[in-house]
């Protein structure tokens, strides 16, 4: 399966909780509706935080994938 192409990548690896989520929120606010943003995180809290925020903020989770020692979250700005 071909990975969804993100327009913007936020490398939040090494950033402690809730840094990766805050970076994602900031990027989503700046982006146009429809934009796809990916966040790379090594923070374990992100695994629960980012999906919880995406669902609450009514954005769209495109993909959550384990990579080499980090997790890749791909989110589309839905509104």
């Amino acid at each position: 399966m071909e990975a969804t192409k993100a327009q913007e990548t936020i490398d939040a690896r090494g950033m402690p909780c809730p840094g990766p989520l805050m970076s994602l929120i900031g990027a989503i606010r700046q982006a146009e509706v429809g934009a796809v943003i990916e966040v790379l995180s090594t923070d374990e809290g992100s695994l629960s935080d980012i999906p919880a925020w995406v669902s609450k903020a009514k954005q769209e989770m495109v993909e959550v994938a384990d990579d080499d020692g980090f997790t890749r979250f791909v989110v589309r700005k839905a509104r």
Partner: protein
């Protein structure tokens, strides 16, 4: 989910303020209103000339705990003041100073960091409570 999270901050050490700021940030991200009331040593830490200084850690943390907090900061973990700024930026977060503590510590409004929006009495704070009150 509750409408408002009320945080009463009493302790002025960096570990407790970081924990409080993290809670405020999470609540703001999830759309919960946050009201923060600053008393005693927490209020002292919000003086504009002290907010970025080292406020130490709680006694229970010990030297190892202090080192753990320093490591987190070196890894790029934001200062609690910055976390609160982010929380205010993404959500409805109000930070107010306790009038009683202001008088006790001889702090004027102009001495406070701009994160603090007002000085209020305890009854006014309680009047705004419509959910859990967390004391840190």
């Amino acid at each position: 989910m509750t409408e408002t999270l009320s945080l009463v901050l009493f302790s002025g050490t960096d570990d407790k303020l970081t924990a409080a700021a993290t809670m405020a940030t999470g609540a703001a991200a999830m759309g919960t209103r946050v009201k923060v009331f600053l008393q005693f040593w927490a209020l002292d830490a919000f003086r504009s000339d002290r907010i970025d200084k080292d406020h130490g850690v709680a006694h229970e943390a010990g030297p190892e705990g202090a080192a753990a907090l320093r490591r987190m900061a070196e890894k790029g973990g934001p200062h609690w003041g910055e976390l609160l700024r982010q929380a205010k930026d993404i959500g409805e977060v109000e930070i107010e100073a306790c009038a009683h503590s202001m008088e006790m510590l001889e702090i004027g409004r102009d001495d406070l960091d701009p994160l603090v929006s007002d000085v209020i009495g305890i009854a006014a704070f309680m009047a705004g409570v419509d959910g859990p009150v967390v004391f840190i």
